[in-house]
């Protein structure tokens, strides 16, 4: 096992290195001269141009520029936004809690519904219940979530007036940011109304973001359960006279959850993709919306740093999931 884990951990290094290289190339591949881009419409004089070129290190050979960039990244310096002049890392860490809060609520929502639904579908195989759950999850899986978001807004905000359309909190509340998580910050501030307002704002975006993971996890739980329920040890458990509840939840589900946990971990990438669309539609002040706006504004340092950070996050979560997988799967534990 240690060898396997070590190998897995070592693989992270070249992957991360590659991402740094990719984000580095990104800015070089961008159309137009970066200095002229920063200068904007006014342009720069020839002397100032040379000066800036030296300042940014653009006069150096490419590999030296890359080494320099790598060094900066390893020291946590991701450059400054061209538009706001704020360090990219600072902007990211200010906005990330909003995305994390939304993503966590979404994935919790998805897991809470998906696992019971998947188990139910497997246990009631080929009944109307199974067919309905399978059909709904297939629709969810095929859903263009930007459209789904608009439908929910149309129904719950425009027609029924139950839900707010945008943002994290009504502007009448002034909540001090302690953790960056609105649900926790409002509780710290002891403002009950603000807390419920924050919950209100979270509901629609969380449903939208949860849709695809919900469908994927339901399908996975169903098929993993079907696989496990065929096994001999389940028949043994039944033959021993255990209650059906005990057979399904204690014996079957425990083993079926192994692949399901992997799939839950792999949702990070899907959640980040979803965050870009969901945050844009609901004006949610998180990193998805921030990154998309940086693309529109051609704020390349932000795009570069943002992609690097998100990719780093995905690699981190995937590696942790891989390690967890080895830890919880007894059959893998024995292997070298």
């Amino acid at each position: 096992m240690p060898q396997h884990l070590l190998h897995r951990l070592l693989l992270v290094i070249p992957t991360f290195f590659g991402i740094v290289a990719l984000t580095f190339l990104l800015i070089r591949l961008a159309p137009g001269d970066p200095i002229l881009l920063i200068a904007g419409e006014h342009g720069v004089s020839a002397e100032r141009y040379a000066e800036l070129q030296q300042q940014f290190g653009f006069d150096q050979p490419l590999f030296i520029q890359f080494a320099d960039y790598l060094w900066q990244v390893l020291n946590g310096n991701l450059g400054r936004s061209v538009v706001t002049q704020t360090p990219v890392l600072e902007e990211f860490s200010n906005l990330f809690p909003a995305t994390l809060e939304l993503a966590l609520i979404a994935i919790i929502l998805a897991v809470l519904i998906a696992i019971p639904a998947g188990v139910l579908a497997a246990v009631k195989r080929n009944t109307i219940i199974d067919h309905s759950i399978t059909a709904v999850s297939l629709v969810g899986y095929s859903m263009p979530i930007f459209w789904w978001a608009l439908l929910l807004i149309l129904l719950f905000s425009v027609n029924l007036g139950w839900m707010p359309v945008a943002g994290r909190l009504n502007f009448i509340y002034d909540i001090e940011s302690v953790t960056g998580f609105m649900l926790i910050d409002t509780l710290i501030a002891g403002d009950k109304d603000a807390f419920f307002d924050a919950v209100h704002h979270l509901i629609l975006p969380a449903i939208v973001l949860a849709t695809i993971p919900l469908a994927v996890i339901t399908r996975m739980t169903r098929s993993a359960m079907l696989e496990v329920l065929k096994q001999d040890y389940i028949r043994t458990a039944r033959a021993k006279g255990l209650s059906e509840f005990s057979v399904i939840f204690k014996h079957a589900l425990r083993n079926a959850l192994i692949p399901v946990i992997t799939v839950i971990g792999l949702q990070t990438s899907i959640l980040m993709t979803g965050a870009i669309l969901t945050e844009t539609i609901f004006s949610w002040p998180g990193i998805g919306k921030w990154l998309l706006e940086a693309v529109y504004r051609r704020d390349y340092p932000v795009v570069q740093g943002g992609v690097l950070l998100i990719a780093g996050l995905v690699i981190l979560v995937n590696t942790v999931v891989d390690l967890l997988y080895v830890l919880i799967n007894p059959s893998l534990r024995q292997q070298k």
Partner: protein
Amino acid sequence: MSKADTSTEIYDLTPWQETWVKFRTNRIAALGLLVLLILIISAIFAPLLVTHDPHEQFTDILLAPPFWADGSQSGFFLGTDDLGRDMFSRLIYGARYSLFLGFAIVSLALFFGVAIGAIAGMKRGLLETVILRLMDIMLAIPAILLAIVIVALLGASLMNAAMAVSIVLLPHFVRITRAAVITEMNKDYVLSAKLDGSRGWKLLFQTLLPNISAPLIVQSTLSFSNAILDIAALGFLGLGAQPPTPEWGTLLSSSREFIEVAPWTVTLPGLAILITVLASNLLGDGLRDALDPRIDPL
């Protein structure tokens, strides 16, 4: 057809016939195929089907509702948009973009994915490691984000968006091909072909490809639905097709501000996307079940 019939006759069939028998009995997958065929036919014969030019603006009938609502206009049975263009005609023409681009994107990803994956699987060694690491890197960046970045670099247009989505889908094909090639390379029939002097591309196309096509076909179908979703998402974000192109995602985003007064301008394009994606996912799931030898035939 009863279950006993097919399972006895299945032994006399070629693998492709067996697949067809298994697929045919899966009514849901057949439904997906049927819907896709209808969509493809309407896309091809769009000029014959539509009632109006998709770009023609009827300025006296702006935002007319569809036929089931009050105030609908005859001749515009799915209503009109904010510029008085016929929704039905725009949606049918939109199918051309989504379906054609879906095919083009998947073909491109399939072609390069198989080529790169086969090189990795046949040559092994350092080259294989480099290719796999590269694919890992691409997979670590969320799909839409990678596509957005590529579009940001190349500029927002339908062709660039298609190229970006194709690049995003590539790693899956590379990994599947490599894994399948490695499995097959150890088998006797490949050894026999090699002894016969078959090498390189010839070995790949004549000997290997027919035997590794099943997972590739399934992946292609599922990628097709992803391609359509991603193209629509990029169109919605303003990074894909540009107005007045009647691409579905673009239609959605340009009608977004009319969602309160004319909800059909938003619901209909989205429904078109959902139906197409759903149909190709049904087909993909059905094909996977039919092509997977581990799954009990019936």
